[in-house]
């Protein structure tokens, strides 16, 4: 396992009216972050918040290329980013203990915080397709170039972990500075991760370690 300190490239925020960030995703242009009662679109270039959707947003956020998915209480909402309308909801697999959310391979991946689990879920029904066990409390989840990454946050300690999706074995760790809690995680599809701060009004960009050869995009 490779261990290194996370290299924070940029810090966004604090954002007015936002106490903590609970989930992040990226639509190819904007970073969306969940702030309790709102989903906010952030321009990673300018650092400006461009749009706000009023919707319950208590944990992970994901984007499937067309819709936003947002965990609120014990369900996952499917949201039209244009209108902000909730189109459908499915039950969240952790029954409310859910934290992170990612979209990949036509399914949703849901981190369950204290259960230390990541469930692969059918986005239509919410049925659990399979479950990966990890060793730490799971927050954000993301896929990039066929790599599964998740955030951990346990007390003061947080890191980003690259794990083997079959065994849950930790392949690589990027350690966040002490006291910085990662509550949401998303990759930009290239060389950056976006992380939400679960105790502050901050979003951070973290460098993704370079690969010898870049695989196909997700």
């Amino acid at each position: 396992m490779k261990r290194s300190a996370a290299e924070i490239l940029r810090e966004y925020g604090p954002f007015p009216g936002v106490d903590r960030v609970h989930g992040v995703t990226y639509d190819g242009q904007n970073v969306w972050f969940a702030a309790g009662d709102t989903l906010n679109a952030l321009d990673p270039e300018s650092g400006k918040t461009l749009r706000t959707i009023d919707v319950a947003a208590h944990a992970g956020t994901a984007f499937d290329g067309q819709h936003l998915f947002q965990i609120a209480e014990d369900r996952i909402q499917k949201i039209d980013p244009e209108t902000g309308r909730v189109l459908t909801t499915i039950p969240a697999p952790g029954g409310g203990g859910d934290s992170g959310l990612a979209w990949a391979e036509g399914t949703l991946w849901v981190g369950v915080y204290r259960d230390r689990k990541i469930h692969q879920v059918d986005p239509e029904t919410g049925a659990i397709l399979r479950t990966i066990e990890t060793s730490r409390f799971v927050t954000g989840v993301t896929w990039v170039d066929g790599e599964l990454w998740h955030g951990t946050w346990e007390g003061d300690e947080s890191d980003l972990r690259h794990i083997d999706p079959r065994t849950g074995e930790v392949l690589e760790r990027l350690e966040m500075p002490l006291g910085v809690g990662v509550s949401g995680l998303e990759s930009d599809g290239h060389d950056q991760f976006f992380c939400g701060d679960g105790s502050r009004s901050k979003v951070r960009a973290v460098r993704r370690p370079k690969r010898a050869s870049t695989g196909s995009s997700r």
Partner: protein
């Protein structure tokens, strides 16, 4: 942090403890237990709240030291609000150290204030003042700032420094308004009322009148000899003789001071000091002994001279002798004085505060209860006493957030 915990914590922060409970009522993981505990505390079920916070503290993992410490602080706050003053101060101090070490300065300070308030309530003013001196409230949020000023005012009032108390209360009022917590504003208002309410009664040369706290303070700077029935001391120009643990001597001193410049017949003194209806020879002999003791004790302040029918107090330096009494006197006034803070007290906490035995306090409480002057609720060790009408528990529980982070 997980979804329902976030939703519940937001509900709690928005003043909706029932909304918070609805979301985590069936969950038994550590953050859920902590949130349920804090919600129950805000709903007034302090017994349940305490149990929940205790199990939450146990359930947090070894890496969640900060979350566990916050539970300990919240539990201490509940103990303070329910006047369980025997709460182990060591655990609170350890939690405070943990919070400080992890950079959670606000909650560390909150823990410190709980410690100071406990000391204040059990009458350890020096220790309270000492701890308070280490705290600079400038960087604290308004709610904590209010707590700070209330403690400053509380100490100043007990030390009879009304000017300091008034200034602290003005700052507290301002901070409470900025905090926007109605319960805090109400607490500041009720503290301020103490300054506008008679704090004592002055008895001088057969006349009586009520005194405000600042008049009591002013009395200390005059050359008058004061027999103080609120604190059971005799005082003159900076010299203080305590008779708190010598009730017979105090009763004699007070009877003599009330009659001054006249004397007091032996029979009256026997009745006042020994509660005997008729003075027989053995009482008279005992009176002589006790007057001798009083003479020795008050030596520097006043003499006790025999007259034809009894005794008279003769001040050494003062030109005047007065008695300072509680505004309304009744038996067990000391117990009532503590209960007058409107909070509920356990009999053991009262015993601790009064420096009396629990049995004595219990007898006083039973007598007061029979006269409908106090009421109790709960059973056994959880039994609490308060003065009617029930003002309810203070709403100033500030309870630190149980979540990791911050």
């Amino acid at each position: 942090m997980d979804s329902l915990i976030t939703a519940a914590a937001r509900a709690l922060a928005a003043g909706d403890p029932l909304g918070a409970l609805n979301r985590v009522a069936l969950r038994d993981d550590a953050p859920a237990l902590a949130l349920r505990g804090i919600a129950m505390a805000q709903l007034g079920d302090l017994v349940r709240a305490k149990a929940l916070l205790r199990s939450a503290a146990r359930a947090f993992g070894p890496r969640e030291a900060v979350a566990r410490a916050r539970c300990v602080v919240a539990e201490a706050e509940i103990a303070l609000v329910s006047r369980d003053l025997t709460w182990p101060a060591k655990a609170l101090d350890a939690a405070r150290a943990t919070l400080e070490a992890h950079g959670d300065r606000v909650n560390a300070a909150h823990a410190r204030y709980l410690e100071v308030r406990r000391l204040l309530l059990i009458g350890r003013l020096d220790q309270a003042e000492h701890l308070l001196a280490d705290l600079d409230p400038t960087p604290f949020p308004p709610a904590l700032r209010t707590a700070h000023e209330l403690v400053v005012a509380g100490i100043a009032m007990r030390r009879l420094r009304t000017e300091t108390a008034r200034a602290a209360l003005t700052r507290a009022e301002d901070a409470a308004r900025r905090a926007g917590i109605p319960g805090l504003t109400a607490e500041v208002e009720s503290a301020a009322r103490i300054l506008a309410t008679p704090a004592a009664r002055l008895m001088a040369r057969g006349m009586e009148r009520p005194l405000l706290l600042e008049e009591v303070e002013a009395l200390q700077t005059t050359s008058v000899l004061v027999v103080d029935a609120c604190r059971h001391v005799v005082r003159n120009a900076g010299t203080v003789v305590s008779l708190a643990r010598r009730p017979v001597l105090f009763a004699l001193a007070r009877a003599l001071a009330e009659a001054w410049p006249g004397d007091v017949p032996r029979g009256t003194l026997v009745a006042r000091a020994f509660r005997a209806k008729h003075a027989d020879e053995s009482h008279r002999a005992r009176l002589r002994v006790e007057v001798g003791r009083l003479r020795a004790t008050l030596r520097t302040l006043a003499g006790v001279s025999a007259t034809k029918r009894g005794f008279v107090l003769v001040p050494r330096h003062a030109g005047e002798i007065v008695v300072l009494a509680r505004p309304v006197e009744e038996p067990h006034a000391a117990v009532l004085a503590f209960l007058a803070d409107g909070e509920s007290w356990s009999s053991s906490a009262l015993a601790l505060a009064l420096g009396a035995s629990q049995r004595t306090v219990q007898r006083a409480l039973d007598a007061l209860a029979a006269a409908d002057k106090v009421q109790s609720f709960g059973r056994g060790r959880a039994r609490r006493w308060m003065t009617p009408p029930v003002p309810g528990f203070t709403t100033t529980l500030l309870l630190p957030a149980p979540l990791p982070g911050d």
